[in-house]
Symmetry: C2
Subunit: 97 residues, 2 copies
């Protein structure tokens, strides 16, 4: 069963639903940068995101350099953004709320 990409109406709501995420230029994907006190704090956050990702069976493209973490979300099986990305982004945001 194919995963459906976000509809135009759902996309229109992204800016208000996920104001801290931005579109990746040239890709149908969203990204957010995070900055922590040090590596330990960044890694603790990544560990929590890893648990969310595994629980949702939806995994980020992400990178880390010491206290910084960059997370990009897209759905390869859908060829772009899907409800899975919105759900994971919301869950990640909740970790920092």
């Amino acid at each position: 069963m194919a995963i459906e990409r976000l509809t135009d109406a759902e996309r229109a709501r992204l800016a208000t639903d996920l104001p801290t995420w931005r579109m990746v230029e040239g890709r149908d994907a969203i990204t957010r940068s995070f900055r922590f006190k040090d590596f330990s704090e960044a890694w603790g956050f990544m560990a929590r995101v890893a648990l969310l990702a595994e629980a949702q069976n939806h995994h980020p493209e992400w990178s880390n350099v010491w206290n910084r973490v960059e997370i990009t979300l897209t759905t390869h099986d859908a060829g772009g953004l899907s409800a899975r990305d919105v759900a994971l982004a919301r869950a990640i945001d909740s970790l920092l709320a």
Copy 2:
């Protein structure tokens, strides 16, 4: 106290000492790609690298997409490769030996 960059003699030994790592084009840094069975296995490896990095107080630039991990090592305080990168690369290799 400044951290010293690798000497020419030390650099000449990199290819034999760390044969699975390659130089990053345009940077004084080394990189290696890893592929695992799935995210769980990749994350387990990353957790072990995180412990090494914190213990050595030397942290990688790295990224992960599901079962793939890319690690780049350089020493920002030295402006390039130092003995810290060689030590961390060796320790990472040992995890997979």
